[in-house]
Amino acid sequence: MKAARVANGARVVNGVRALVERVRRVARVRRDGPVRGVPRGSRARRGRALGGGLLLVPPVAAALLGPFLAPDPVPSDGAPYAPDEGPLGTDALGRDVLALVLRGGASALGVACAAVALAVVLGGALGLAAAASRSRRVDDLLIRPVELLLPLPSLLVISLVGVGWRGHPVAVALAVAALNVPAVARLLRAAALDAASGPVAEAMRLQGESRARVLFGHVGRAVLPVAAADAGTRVGTAVFTVAAANFLGLGLDPTSPDWGVVIAASREALFVQPWAVCAPTLLLVMFTVGANLLADGLLGGGAVGGARTGSGSRTGGGRTGGARTGDGRTGGGRGDGKATA
C-alpha cells in the first residue's frame, strides 16, 4: 500500500514540476517580449509585477491543474498524520496531503475569489453609485439597507448557509460575498466621494457620458488602488471565513479537501504532521502575497501620476545625503503620468 502511495506522490510531484517549468517558460517569454502599453521607465514595476506573478504560479497551478493530477476522492489509505508517507505526509484520514492540496485549491480559491469578486462588484457598484448620486435620498437608499448587513454576526449567516445548503460552494460564496458587500460598499463610497464630487466627474457628465462610464471609467479608476488593496486582503480572509465556519463545525463537510478546511481540520496536528497545515497555508500565503504584489505592480506606485511635478518627491525632505536623485532623468517610474497599465 505504501509503495503505491509513494508512486502516486511521485507522479503528482512530476506533474507539478512539469507545470512549473511550463509556466516559467511562458513567464520568460513575457518578460523578454515587449509589453504593450507600459510606458518606458517602468521596467522596475514590471519586475515587481512579475515577482508577484511568479508567487501566484504554484497556488493557481495547483488550483487549476491539481484536479487533473490527483484522484477524486483522495483515497484514505495511509496512517493518520504520518509525516513520512508520501512527499507531504498524510492528514487525519490518512490521505495524501499533496493530493489533497492539489484537489482543494479549486474550491478554496474559487469560492474565495468568486465571493470577493462578487462583493467587490456589487459593493463597488453600490458604493460608487451612492458616492456619485447627487441626491441624499438616493445615497441613503443605496447604502443604508446594505449597512444593515454590516453588524449582522457573520457567523449567523454562515451557519445558516452551512446548515441550509449543506455548505454548497455556491451558497458559501454567496454568503461570504453578502458578508463583504457592505464593507466594500462603504469603503468605496467613502473613497469615491471626493472623486465623484470633483470637476472631472462633472466634466464627464457635461459631455453626456453615461452614469456607468463616469462611475467605472473615472470614479472607479480613481478608487482602484483602494479597491485593489481591499480586495487583495479580503481573498485571504474569505478563505478563512469558510475555514472558521468549519472551525465551528457549521455543517460544512470537514473531510473536504478545501484548503481552508484542511488547515482548520489539521491544526491540532501542527506539531505532529506540520505539512498538513503548512502546505495549504503556504499556498494560500503565496496566493495572497502574490496577488497583492501583482496588483501593486500593475497599478504602479504612482498610478495617479499627479502633478506635472510629481518628480519632486524624490529629492523632497532633504534626506538625500548628497546622492543625486535623478528627478527628471529617469523619467521616474512613479511620477509618470501615463502610468496606467
Partner: protein, 314 residues
C-alpha cells in the same frame, strides 16, 4: 454636521429595529431550537417537547418577537432561554473583556498600521515596500488559529514567558497585562494588513497630487508633509476600514477568544447561536450592532471632515 449626525442617528434606530427582526428571523431559521439543543444526547423527543413548552418556544414567533420588543423598549433585554439569567448579565459579563481587548488592539493598531502604511506608501514599489507588504500580507493569510498555536508554542510552551491561555483567570484580568500580549499580537497580525494597505493606497494617491507637490515646493519637510498633508487625505479609506475593524474586534474575534479561552462577546454570541438561545442572540447582536453603527457613524463623520468637498454634493 449636527443635522447630519442627528439624521444618521435616526437612521441607526431604524436600522437596529430592522436588524432585530432580521436576527430573530435568522436565528429562528436555524435548524433546531433551544430545547433540542439543550437536550442533545441527553433525552428523547418527549422530554424535548416538554422542555420546549417550559421555555415557551411553542408560542407563535410573532408573539415572542413582540414580547421581546416590548421588553427592549422598556430597557429589558430579556431572559436567556438556556441559563435562565438575564441577557444583560451575559452581555455585561462578556463585554468588558472584549472591549478592553479591542481597545488595546486598536490603540496599538492605529499607529502601527499608519506607520506601516505610510512607510510602504512612501517607498511604494521599493524593496522596503515589498518586504513589509509581504510580511503583513503573510500575517493576514496565515489563519489566526495557526498563528495563535505557533505563538503559544513558542512564547508560552517553549520560552514560558507568557500565559498560554486565560483558563482560570476569573476576575481581575485587568491586573494582568501579560494575558493580553498573545491575543493582541494575533489580532494585530490579522488587522494590521488591511488597514495599512488602505493607508498605503491612500498615501500613494495623495503623495502625487498637486497639493502635495506644492507643499513640497514650499519646503514642507518630508515627515511633516506625510503626517500633516498626506495623511488626512490618505486616511479616508483607512478610517472606514478602522471602523470595520473596530466592530469586528468587538464582535468577531471568535477564533482568538476560543483559542485563548477569553470569555468575550464573540464566544457568548456563538454559544448563544449554538444554543439557539434567541433572546441572548438578539440582545448581543443588537448591542454589537449598535456599537457597529456608532463606529460607522463616527467613520462617516470623520470622512466628511477629511473630504470636505463632499458637502457641495449633498
Amino acid at each position: 454636521m449636527l443635522r447630519y449626525t442627528l439624521r444618521r442617528c435616526a437612521w441607526t434606530v431604524v436600522q437596529l429595529a430592522v436588524l432585530a427582526v432580521v436576527v430573530f428571523a435568522l436565528t429562528n431559521l436555524l435548524p433546531g431550537d433551544a430545547a433540542t439543543v439543550d437536550f442533545n444526547e441527553q433525552a428523547g423527543l418527549e422530554q424535548v417537547a416538554e422542555l420546549r413548552a417550559q421555555m415557551g418556544l411553542d408560542r407563535p414567533w410573532g408573539e415572542r418577537l413582540l414580547d421581546w420588543a416590548y421588553g427592549v423598549a422598556h430597557g429589558d433585554l430579556g431572559t436567556s432561554l438556556v441559563g435562565g439569567g438575564p441577557v444583560s448579565g451575559v452581555l455585561a459579563a462578556s463585554i468588558g473583556v472584549t472591549a478592553t481587548l479591542a481597545a488595546v488592539t486598536l490603540l496599538l493598531l492605529v499607529p502601527l498600521a499608519t506607520a506601516v502604511g505610510l512607510l510602504t506608501g512612501l517607498r511604494a514599489g521599493g524593496r522596503t515596500d515589498r518586504a513589509v507588504s509581504a510580511v503583513t500580507l503573510t500575517l493576514t493569510s496565515v489563519p489566526d488559529f495557526v498563528l495563535a498555536l505557533l505563538l503559544v508554542a513558542f512564547f508560552s510552551l517553549r520560552l514560558g514567558w507568557l500565559p498560554s491561555t486565560w483558563v482560570g483567570v476569573d476576575g481581575a484580568w485587568w491586573e494582568r497585562p501579560e494575558l493580553f500580549v498573545l491575543p493582541v499580537a494575533v489580532l494585530l497580525a490579522r488587522t494590521v494588513c488591511t488597514l495599512s494597505r488602505q493607508v498605503r493606497a491612500g498615501t500613494i494617491a495623495a503623495l502625487h497630487s498637486g497639493w502635495a507637490v506644492q507643499a513640497r515646493r514650499l519646503g514642507v519637510p518630508r515627515g511633516r508633509l506625510v503626517l500633516r498633508h498626506v495623511l488626512p487625505n490618505a486616511a479616508v479609506p483607512g478610517v472606514q476600514e478602522l471602523a470595520r475593524t473596530g466592530d469586528q474586534l468587538l464582535g468577531g474575534v471568535l477564533v482568538v477568544e476560543a483559542v485563548f479561552a477569553i470569555p468575550g462577546t464573540a464566544t457568548a454570541l456563538v454559544e448563544a447561536v449554538q444554543n439557539r438561545d434567541v433572546p441572548t442572540v438578539q440582545g448581543l447582536a443588537l448591542a454589537l450592532a449598535a456599537v457597529a453603527c456608532l463606529l460607522n457613524l463616527g467613520a462617516d463623520l470623520v470622512t466628511r471632515r477629511l473630504a470636505p468637498r463632499t458637502e457641495v454634493l449633498r
